[in-house]
């Protein structure tokens, strides 16, 4: 059975989704979904251990040999991304019941769990597959289910936010589809490794350039890179808390993963960065994005919206790392994907706890909650320290690596700007901390109590992970640096 783990990772949540619909009872559906999610995490954990021990795992669907059949490949990069996607997926699901009970009508709960499982299937599928068209299909599975999940939000703006995301997301997906089509036209294959070996990136036709442009823009929309991030704040703000936790922690990171795969696995950094100097463009966009959105975040009163803008900024850091295109930069970018998933997931979970108890995510309603909800508030402080990048937290590790990478590549302005931008994070995190601890207690906060244990425990696991991986850096670092060398040593003909 252990040979089949790469496919079981995808099929398990895929089966859990219809089972949830079939039973139709919210409690049974929850048990099914939860069991599937944790099993998926266990599989991901096993896979990554196997990969670090004995190299990449290939699995041919239907026993059709690649490039004719669809091949699933788990290497250290995809394994790493799968690991935290599955882990956070399971953790958020454990945290979910009290929160969705308050935010989603009970008759829809089993559908919620089914859609959640589908979203997880899509995200894991993007990581697992080695087939470019499959990437598109899984991207759409995850996107479609996230549009549906976002539209479940309580606010009447939720459907509009979901629709705006849907329109932009579909444009992005169609761009990706065009890019894949042109690649197929040139090479006659859809297997990523096979495309890479057939593509002559030095003397190729102009179609290659067009295809690369379409893929890049499409994936940038999905990643919410700075000028194309318009869908993200609304979607994150109006989605139910649980959905925001999951999507914010995983979805954009998986798109970053897909982007890295396309750039490094198919087109080679030489084509993208040397011939096209995409790295300069990306770096500038990333830096403008970091500053623009961080400053916007400072002026937000809605905490979820604030965190959403901060997410756009953090995507900028990942892109910075990737666009350096060397071992240290990539390692930093990849490790930041992991750390940011933990931090942003954790912070949104805290926001979800407040939303449950205070019924609001507006800063003015949170005032003084530090006294009545001490545990929840403390979690925010720790998560916030991680986001700023204070030593001994995971955020520090990735920022430090990015900084050293920038210095190594002699990108001094980038290094200086990165340090400055961390100060901006300090400002908006501090605004919340100040309201929590030093402001007059608001009406709502006065008679609030700490969030229920079922929510606090998963929150603290994630928040604790920020501290653990801030000190025990070797595990994620080894994985990330191995992933980076896999990417850089990606099959070049």
């Amino acid at each position: 059975m252990s040979d089949h783990l790469p496919i079981l990772l995808i099929v398990l949540p895929l089966i859990a989704a219809p089972l949830c619909v079939l039973v139709g009872n919210r409690k049974v559906a929850y048990v099914v979904a939860l069991a599937a999610a944790w099993c998926t995490f266990a599989i991901a954990l096993t896979l990554i251990t196997q990969v670090t021990r004995s190299g990449p795992i290939h699995y041919n669907i239907g026993d059709w040999a690649p490039p004719y059949g669809i091949e699933y490949v788990v290497d250290s990069f995809s394994g790493f991304v799968m690991l935290f996607v599955a882990g956070i997926g399971a953790l958020v699901l454990s945290y979910a019941p009290p929160s969705i009970k308050a935010e989603i009508p009970q008759s829809k709960h089993y559908l919620f769990y089914a859609t959640y499982m589908l979203c997880m299937t899509g995200l894991l599928g993007i990581c697992a597959t080695g087939d470019l068209f499959n990437v598109f299909v899984f991207l759409e599975i995850s996107s479609l289910s996230s549009y549906a999940l976002i539209s479940l939000g309580r606010s009447r703006r939720a459907p509009l936010a979901a629709l705006q995301y849907l329109i932009l997301g579909s444009i992005g997906a169609t761009f990706i589809l065009i890019g894949i089509g042109l690649l197929y036209q040139m090479t006659g294959t859809l297997n990523m490794a096979d495309i890479a070996s057939r593509l002559d990136t030095h003397h190729g036709p102009r179609t290659m350039l067009v295809s690369f442009a379409f893929l890049t823009v499409g994936l940038c929309i999905k990643m919410a890179v700075f000028p194309l991030h318009r869908w993200l704040p609304g979607a994150y703000t109006y989605a139910p808390s649980v959905v925001t936790c999951f999507i914010a922690a995983t979805s954009t990171k998986v798109s970053v993963y897909a982007f890295a795969r396309v750039v490094f696995g198919i087109f080679t950094p030489d084509f993208a960065f040397e011939q096209l100097s995409l790295n300069t463009g990306l770096m500038i966009l990333a830096l403008i994005g970091i500053f623009g959105t961080s400053i916007t975040a400072i002026f937000q009163d809605n905490v979820k919206r604030m965190l959403a803008f901060s997410s756009v900024a953090q995507i900028g850091y990942m892109l910075l790392g990737i666009s350096m295109a060397n071992q240290s930069g990539l390692t930093a970018g990849i490790i930041h994907m992991f750390n940011h998933a933990l931090i942003k997931g954790g912070l949104f979970m805290v926001a979800g706890c407040f939303a449950l108890r205070l019924g609001s995510v507006n800063l003015s309603d949170w005032q003084g909650a530090g006294r009545t909800m001490p545990w929840t508030s403390f979690a925010w402080v720790v998560g916030g320290l991680g986001l700023i990048g204070v030593p001994l937290t995971a955020g520090f590790v990735s920022k430090w690596l990015l900084l050293t990478a920038a210095v190594q590549s002699e990108l001094w302005p980038v290094a200086v700007l990165m340090l400055l931008s961390s100060l901006l994070a300090l400002v908006y995190i501090w605004r919340v901390v100040e309201s929590l601890y030093f402001a007059e207690t608001s009406q709502r906060a006065a008679d609030a109590v700490d969030a229920p244990l079922q929510m606090l425990v998963p929150t603290y696991i994630l928040i604790g992970a920020i501290l653990v991986f801030g000190v025990w850096t070797t595990y994620p670092f080894d994985l990330a640096s191995e992933a980076a060398s896999t990417l850089l040593g990606a099959p070049t003909p």
Partner: protein, 149 residues
């Protein structure tokens, strides 16, 4: 580029025309229904792009004709030489001469069409809900309503 080349690429011109039309509608329209229609036109252009690249001049549908399939089923490898008469020979020739169009792009598009349907259905469902909430499907009016609420 001679005029024949330009005209010869007519399928791509159609694709580009549809693509731009659809894309323009999506970004220029504030009516939500109309932007979904634009999105559909945009997606359809991509379906055409794929299908047109799978087509081979003189190619048939990629289904093995019954005659050839039967010949394969009945021809035993052992006595293949013995019956290699004129009839068998012509069969082999027809099998070799047949050119099949590439089925893969069409299959891929079947999947993309399903994705497109799902997107459209979901989008329309959302629009129905938006209309129930706001009583309009004009995006600027909705934003206006939100500002004063």
């Amino acid at each position: 580029m001679s005029i024949e080349q330009v005209v010869g690429l007519y399928n791509y011109w159609i694709v580009v025309f549809l693509m731009m039309t659809g894309f323009y509608i999506v970004i220029a329209r504030t009516n939500l229904i109309k932007s979904i229609i634009g999105l559909n036109i945009f997606q359809t252009s991509v379906f055409l792009l794929y299908i047109t690249m799978g087509r081979i001049n003189g190619g048939t549908a990629p289904i093995i004709p019954a005659v050839v399939a039967d010949a394969h089923a009945h021809a035993h490898p052992a006595d293949a030489h013995a019956t290699d008469g004129p009839a068998g020979h012509s069969l082999h020739e027809t099998a070799d001469e047949l050119i099949y169009s590439n089925p893969l792009p069409s299959v891929l598009m079947l999947t993309a069409i399903v994705v497109g349907i799902a997107t459209t259905a979901l989008a329309l469902a959302l629009i129905v809900r938006i209309r129930e909430e706001y009583g309009t499907v004009e995006e600027d009016e909705i934003l206006e309503l939100d500002r004063y609420s």
